[in-house]
């Protein structure tokens, strides 16, 4: 964290060497102390943790937020995500001394975030940056019962006392004292809760697989590497309701038999690390974590590990490699993390929103949660809404509610005098939806998949009729190219080639040939890429060509507006 640490190399190494998942925190300790990672620091870490130096060098260069030149950590990094582009981040980067661009930093519902050392500033003018406050979701707009947002607008919720006042840790107390792990699994199963990070895998099924897997110690990992552009709901939950995540993880530990937990937090949320660590300290002091949780036999503790800038580390097997200090390529599956996760042991990797949903579910029952959905759908999902929309922000919506209800009735639609041209879904991974889809789609996976899209992690970025959709697509593909890990050929080369074609710097000048190339690349990427990044990325070009063929033709013919 932000404090200046005068410690010597050996002290830092001894502080971390025997801790679980030690590489990232040790690298951060040197990064914080020196303001960059020097060659000497890497040599010290390599010898301290017995990692081959070439390996460590390669792994460090994988992460874009580890500075490798003196003074690098303090240089401003300006978000150039799709929504910040609309706000003029390019001018801000030029105007700020030594600034560089960073991919979406998860504050799309406010002014442009600038990460400077361990502080997040916001603003649009170089001279007028201010400290970034936590962003509270808009008041419950639909008047519909909420799950994870029900209490977050209350500032007292952040402290253990405040959390307990509004019913916090009631679920955990009841679970460890009155319920069996099997009963907790049944409640979660009955609620219909699925992975809210985007994959929609049934949570109870995952937990049961970990519970039944041989070997141990078992692990619960909270995936807080919220890196999808246009998604900023996990940040809000962690900043405003940290104990809900800790309680959710502890319930997961109780249900799965896990004894250790990690929160893998993205680099771009430095203040959040402090919030989580304070909450963990409070929980330990109150025996809500530790060797005897609430006086029972349950043993569980949580460690926060900060990432260092790599979208792919939100992919669960990359995340596990990153935690273990390995090169963060995704792993081949099977085996899956439920049997071979952290250090090869059974591991439940769950998203922040998923885990935060668990305490209210256990507290209020499966039927209550399932009943929050619209129609036959179960539960709720936070939608991060941003871009050309009157009231951007996080909205907790009943799954299955019409998209247009949220977009127009709750968030006020496009700004005055404009109409909505397109929205992205699942941040960027669901590609674009056009006017017709927006009119008809409901916010649930079946409806989205029927339109060739995804609900995913719930990011929706809105673009009005003044926007150049080819340029928006270029930014999106450029993000995927920047974040491609480089392991599998179709993604590594495909994202680059699609970006070049959307930028107009390479590729055929004849629309039919251009489209044939883009389609061929996209088809192969979607079919044979090794992980979700390469599979999802061509959704951008596919939906662009389907929805906006005239803009594509104009682009290829060199007649873009």
């Amino acid at each position: 964290m932000a404090h200046i640490n005068p410690s010597g190399d050996q002290e830092l190494i001894e502080r971390w060497r025997d801790q679980p998942a030690s590489l990232l925190p040790l690298l951060h300790a040197f990064h914080d102390r020196d303001g960059y990672l020097s060659d000497d620091a890497l040599r010290a870490v390599a010898s301290g943790l017995r990692i081959p130096i070439a390996d460590l060098y390669g792994t460090v260069t994988f992460y874009h937020h580890f500075a490798r030149v003196k003074g690098g950590k303090a240089r401003p990094r300006v978000c150039d995500g799709p929504v910040c582009k609309l706000q003029g981040c390019d001018e801000l980067i030029v105007g700020l001394d030594g600034a560089t661009a960073m991919p979406c930093a998860g504050r799309c519902d406010g002014p442009i975030p600038v990460l400077q050392d361990d502080e997040v500033l916001i603003g649009t003018q170089p001279g007028a940056l201010t400290a970034a406050p936590p962003l509270v979701p808009p008041p419950n707009p639909g008047g519909i019962d909420e799950c994870v947002f029900a209490e977050v607008r209350d500032p007292r919720r952040k402290t253990l006392a405040g959390y307990r006042e509004s019913g916090g840790y009631r679920a955990l107390s009841r679970a460890v004292r009155e319920m069996t792990p099997e009963q907790v699994l049944d409640v979660v199963s009955g609620s219909g809760l699925t992975g809210r990070g985007g994959a929609s895998f049934p949570t109870a099924l995952k937990w049961r697989a970990v519970r039944e897997a041989g070997g141990g110690p078992k692990t619960v990992v909270c995936n807080a590497d919220e890196g999808e552009p246009g998604c900023f709901q996990d940040r809000v939950l962690m900043d405003l309701d940290p104990h809900a995540i800790l309680e959710g993880m502890t319930l997961a530990a109780f249900a799965t038999g896990a004894t250790r937990g990690f929160i893998y937090l993205r680099y771009e949320y430095p203040a959040t690390q402090g919030v989580l660590e304070t909450a963990i300290e409070e929980a330990r002091a109150a025996e809500l974590l530790g060797t005897s949780v609430l006086g029972t036999e349950l043993t569980f503790d949580i460690h926060v590990r900060r990432g260092a800038g790599a979208y792919i580390c939100g992919e669960e097997t990359s995340l596990l490699n990153s935690l273990e200090g390995k090169h963060p390529f995704p792993r081949n599956r099977p085996p899956y993390p439920v049997t071979n996760g952290f250090e090869g042991t059974p591991t439940a990797v769950n998203n922040v929103e998923t885990l935060a949903s668990v305490p209210p579910i256990v507290d209020r029952g499966a039927e209550w949660y399932a009943g929050l959905g619209a129609g036959e759908h179960k539960g709720t999902k936070i939608i991060s809404l941003s871009g050309d929309v009157a009231r951007p922000g996080n909205y907790e919506v009943p799954i299955g509610i019409p998209l247009k209800t949220v977009l127009y009735d709750w968030a006020g639609g496009a700004p005055e005098g404009r109409t909505v041209q397109a929205v992205t879904m699942a941040g960027l991974s669901g590609g674009f939806l056009g006017a017709e889809d927006i009119e008809e789609a409901t916010l649930d996976e079946p409806s989205m998949r029927a339109r060739g899209s995804l609900l995913g992690a719930g990011g929706v970025m809105v673009f009005d009729d003044s926007r150049d959709m080819v340029e928006i697509a270029r930014q999106a593909m450029s993000f995927f190219a920047h974040e491609s890990c480089g392991k599998c050929f179709p993604c590594r080369i495909g994202t680059q080639r699609l970006t070049e074609r959307l930028a107009g710097v390479a590729g055929p000048k004849e629309p039919e040939l251009w489209k044939a190339e883009v389609e061929d690349i996209g088809r192969t990427m979607a079919a044979v890429s090794a992980c979700g990044l390469g599979v999802a990325a061509p959704g951008i070009t596919g939906s662009l060509m389907r929805l906006f063929p005239e803009q594509v033709d104009a682009h290829v013919n060199g007649q873009r507006k």
């Binding site: 070439a54 390669g58 994988f62 090169h327 920047h482 974040e483 590594r492 590729g507």
Partner: protein, 367 residues
């Protein structure tokens, strides 16, 4: 989670699967690629080396499995009983062509890769020919940056031709255990690197050359062999045993006419399975060095002159005898060559112990 990789087998005997319409047996733990390769030689791949852990990078070896939504990489998918697998559908071949077009587009176009670069150096060229790909489609930026300034005389680091299959990095770690090279950066900016992107000489590299021999594009090349590119004649391979030590690594000696032009490890060598060390791989130039001794020499009137073996051995025996008679048997010290196999080392210690009556016997490899 439709395939958990288990392959418990049929009720009677070994498990089977259907491969391109034919029922074939397999052994539990085998991958689909291993099974397929036994029956058909043409599932393409660029990132596979049977000595290394399957990696799943190039995606050329994808196959279709009935009931699976998308093709899977056969190299990382375990065979399971009852699977119905297709290795060569029109769709798969189309994906493979697109993949080859992509990977050829990131390298210099129209450059012939000299087969003398290394054992696997033609893999990419051969596949490009098979899929009729010339690198013109999907044109765009080139990946990888060559390191022509690396002053080592053995390994050429021509990364312009690199396709980021990481076989070099993996063979260095998994086979040689050196961890001298790794992967820097991400995505299209990926680059094979040493620590801090320095020269091989300053790294943990032992110049065993295994990275050169597994490279499927010739991006890493045998610089010693390349010095002989312009020599006239065809390269002939002769199977032999490396003379440097007692391990007995199999090598294929490359020659043009009477001239030795390079050495390759034999991938099927029982002692080395494709591995060599720096001496066996690159230390062969002495064979045709003008100063190499080809006859025994003895000193006459202070001058070394050629002699017959009989004369030379008599002279040596005489010297040993003189030393023993003058200074006693413990004045003799035998050092067996590290290049001698076990049996010869045994003979040397027998000779010293029984012949001279001293236990002063050692081996140069012990230093």
């Amino acid at each position: 989670m439709s395939s958990d990789g288990s392959s418990n087998g049929s009720s009677n005997g070994s498990p089977t699967l259907t491969l391109d319409g034919k029922v074939v047996p397999f052994e539990t733990g085998e991958t689909l690629y291993e099974v397929a390769r036994r029956h058909t030689s043409d599932v393409p791949t660029l990132c596979y080396d049977e000595r290394l852990e399957a990696f799943g990078a190039c995606r050329l070896c994808v196959v279709e499995i009935e009931g699976f939504r998308s093709p899977v990489a056969s190299c990382t998918t375990h065979a399971a009983h009852g699977m119905n697998v297709q290795t060569k559908t029109e769709k798969l071949e189309k994906h493979r062509k697109t993949l080859m077009e992509l990977v050829c587009s990131e390298n210099p176009r129209g450059v012939e890769i000299d087969p003398m670069r290394g054992h696997a150096s033609q893999e990419m060229t051969d596949l490009a020919q098979r899929y009729a790909v010339d690198g013109t489609r999907f044109e765009g930026a080139q990946s990888g940056q060559s390191h022509p300034d690396d002053p080592n005389p053995m390994i050429l680091r021509d990364y312009d031709h690199c396709i980021s299959c990481y076989r070099c990095v993996r063979v260095c770690a998994e086979q040689e255990g050196d961890y001298a090279i790794s992967i820097a950066n991400r995505g299209f900016q990926t680059q094979i690197t040493t620590e801090f992107n320095g020269f091989l000489k300053g790294s943990e590299c032992t110049f065993c050359g295994q990275c050169v021999q597994t490279c499927p594009t010739g991006a890493l090349a045998d610089n010693r062999a390349l010095q002989h590119t312009r020599e006239p004649g065809e390269v002939e391979l002769t199977r032999s045993i490396c003379p440097f030590c007692g391990v007995g690594c199999s090598v294929d000696i490359m020659s043009k006419g009477d001239k030795l032009v390079g050495v390759r490890p034999a991938m099927d060598g029982p002692a080395n399975e494709g591995a060599l060390c720096v001496k066996g791989q690159f230390g062969w130039e002495w064979v045709q060095h003008p100063e190499r001794l080809k006859n025994p020499m003895v000193r006459k009137d202070g001058v070394l002159v050629e002699a017959s073996w009989d004369e030379a051995l008599d002279r040596a025996a005489e010297g040993f005898r003189r030393v023993r008679d003058t200074h006693g048997r413990h004045a003799i010290y035998g050092v067996a060559s590290g290049r001698a196999p076990h049996e010869s080392a045994f003979s040397v210690q027998k000779f010293i112990r029984a012949g001279f009556g001293t236990n002063q016997i050692d081996n140069c490899s012990r230093a």
